[in-house]
Amino acid sequence: MVEPVRKLLEKKVESPEELENLRQSILAKRDPKRTCITVCGGTACRASGAEAVVEAFVDEIERRELQVQVSLKETGCHGFCERGPLVVIEPKKLFYQRVTPDDVEEIIDETILAGRVVERLLYTDPTTKETVTYEPDVPFYKKQTRNVFGTNGTIDPTNIEDYIAIGGYAALSKALFQMTPENIVDEVQKSGLRGRGGGGFPTGRKWQSCHEAKSKVKYVICNADEGDPGAYQDRSLLEGNPHSILEGMIIGARAIGSHQGYIYVRNEYPLAVRHARIAIEQAMDYGLLGRNILGSGFDFNITINKGGGAFVCGESSALMASLEGKVGEPKAKYVHMAEKGLWERPSLLNNVKTWANVPLIINKGADWYAQLGTQGSKGTMIFSLVGNIVNTGLVEVPMGITLRDMIFDIGGGIPEGKKFKAVQTGGPSGGCIPEQFLDTPVDFDELTKLGSMMGSGGMIVMDEDTCMVDVARYFIEFLKGESCGKCTPCREGINRMSQILSNITRGKGKPEDLDTLQDLAEVLSAGALCALGQTAANPVLSTIRYFKDEYLAHINDKKCPAGVCRELVSFSIDPEKCEGCMRCIRECPTGAVSGEKKQPHTINQDMCISCGACYDVCKFGAVIKR
């Protein structure tokens, strides 16, 4: 590990020149040709055992006394979660995937000491069968534009000098010494950046009204209360590159004249909390946060607030209520939060991803930033590509890329040769988009036109075995549990939608249910207090719009075409195909299957609960699902 230079200087960075000198001294101490083993320490890689891999590397390097030649770094999420734990060996960016602690000795022996590649750990493209040696050549990364997320894989999030070495805090220095607050607001406005948290509100306009609001006290808030099922981009950014978010927040504070900031982050993200805390401490030590930042006379502090995990606290007014120590319930926003927010003071609240874009815009300029993207949506967006997809992971692409490119080129398509059915974008309040719209360019406005939304960048891919009614029921069920219960339409309406949908999936649907759902959707969108309720019907409306025949099959024919809804599926055994292996008899949890060895088995329909265990285990395809 690299000894921080700062400790030797024992004094804060007090001018832009000193920051530049510090950067040079850090770089001078580092040999760009030195071998550095980076292990992805993102959420997904940790779940698949990255921590044990890091430990194995530490032990192995110590055992062989390689500390001088080799450095080891645990970084944030690289993005290709499907293939984790990931190990990338700098400087050549040699790419090993699905590494286990047992592979570590071989990597040290072969790659580090002998300079050879361990073939079996390389990535093989499942479609072309080509083996890829270096990280940038992996097709998953090749088609992305990783402006915000790219540095995640190269920096140690717990070492501020890594961030400074790659040009970190240069944007802050520029914003403090070469730009007026008005310049900063103008630059953000010109960039066309829109809020990455859900609504897609023009960020610059928010900054402008907060800048104009008259108050001695103003607040800056980072919304890291990510809660959409399947989304973990904010978490990965805060874990992997916390300083980029701090830098964005300090620039925002300077632009509006705020001296206090808050990071509202879920308590369920302990690593993100820890890394943000370390980052704040280090930034304070280096004089990049706190009093007299970089000697400019500008003061700004950041406090971390841990949320209790309520989904609705991602809504800005509920988040602020929670910050104030009140129950996390939304309020009407007829007066904007930028004028009267936290403790009735002007408050600038942006999502983690939005803040992370700010240093880029300041460094490279609004014109550079606005080159990427579409007419109404500029820059890149980070999506979490999950569900029935070959390459699960986090992808960063320019706005305007088509859904097809994202799902099939980057995502590698649907596993097991199954057919694509729909993609759910924008989290629980988004909609399901069917195959005929796969060539739609992904941006804020196009997704809204399709009855879905960009949201926070969640993207759940579903294959042909997915029941769309069941999907709608799942999301409504989620929102039912997360509705704060303050306003009638959301509390009662979602509950009634959930009852109707659960009836339909149990074969108790009535023909008039679709109209009732439609009516409830209108009450929600027009009457609910906050965006959670106003958009809650999207999964229902979009599935009715694009998959109406599935609803009708459930309601009229009492059939689930995808074979998902248990009450509507029955299992039987084809005596011709059954070999009498008794496997299904052993698996059946209710003892509904009976039969003798080498004789065709039968299922007692009265005892069968349609769990499908027999169907899953039969090697002869003898179990018939209907």
Binding site: Y334, C487, T488, P489, G493, Q499, E522, G527, R566, I609
Partner: protein, 237 residues
């Protein structure tokens, strides 16, 4: 110009003068009121102008915006674009156009009242609203609760008495009025003033013989939840 002071009477004036006077239109009638108040507050004092029902509103406590039946359509750009807002929270503004009785509004209120009636089929105030907006029988399984969770009792206890002896606890469909932290009994903070019972729009709170309020019992559908989880656990075991 003609300015309406209530549903029947208008006066001719050149321009209503005064500090912070705001002119706006309600259902095609020009009115002038002092600024800094909400649409609902302004219209409460002008009998016969507009028709805005409200359940969670009480002039003695701060607006809350929970029941949503006071929703109206407003336009800030002279009538080009209208949006739905809660009249109890939306501030009056110069030149605002307010519509309180459009077809869309009636349909929305009908929808909300249907939901409330399904929750509380025996509450007189809700039944009256249902009659007014043409809700016959809700299309949903009927509940048997009296409390609509408007929060008036809780707000009265906190804002007027300064006690917070009762609170809204839990969230979503499990939300209910209870002693803070789900204590079994009301603490000594309850002074038995009866404010909560007085402001309750549905009569869900009555004063008990011990001089303390009997809080509405929200019947949480535990049986339903249990039945569902049981089924799931068979399948996954």
């Amino acid at each position: 110009m003609k300015v309406w002071i209530n549903g029947e009477t208008s006066i001719e004036i050149e321009h209503a003068e005064g500090v912070g006077v705001v002119h706006f239109t309600v259902d095609d009638k020009e009115v002038a009121v002092s600024g800094g108040q909400t649409i609902l507050e302004a219209l409460e004092r002008m009998d016969g102008i507009g028709n805005i029902p409200a359940l969670c509103h009480h002039p003695a406590v701060k607006p809350y915006g929970a029941c949503r039946i006071c929703t109206v359509e407003v336009s800030e750009d002279g009538g080009n674009r209208f949006k739905f807002v809660a009249a109890c929270l939306y501030p009056v503004k110069e030149g605002l156009i307010v519509k309180t009785q459009t077809e869309k509004i009636k349909k929305l209120r009908k929808g909300i009242i249907e939901l409330l009636l399904a929750r509380c089929p025996n509450v007189q105030r809700i039944k009256e609203l249902a009659d007014e907006y043409g809700v016959e029988k809700p299309r949903f399984v009927l509940g048997d609760q009296d409390c609509i969770l408007c929060g008036l009792c809780v707000r009265a206890c906190q804002e007027i008495i300064g006690k917070s002896a009762i609170s809204l606890v839990n969230r979503g469909i499990y939300k209910e009025v209870a002693a803070p932290f789900y204590a079994y009994e009301l603490s000594g903070d309850c002074i038995g003033c009866g404010d909560c019972a007085f402001v309750c729009p549905t009569g869900a709170i009555e004063m008990g013989d011990d001089g303390r309020p009997n809080l509405p019992k929200v019947k949480i559908p535990y049986a339903e939840i249990e039945a569902m989880t049981k089924k799931e656990s068979i399948a996954t075991s």
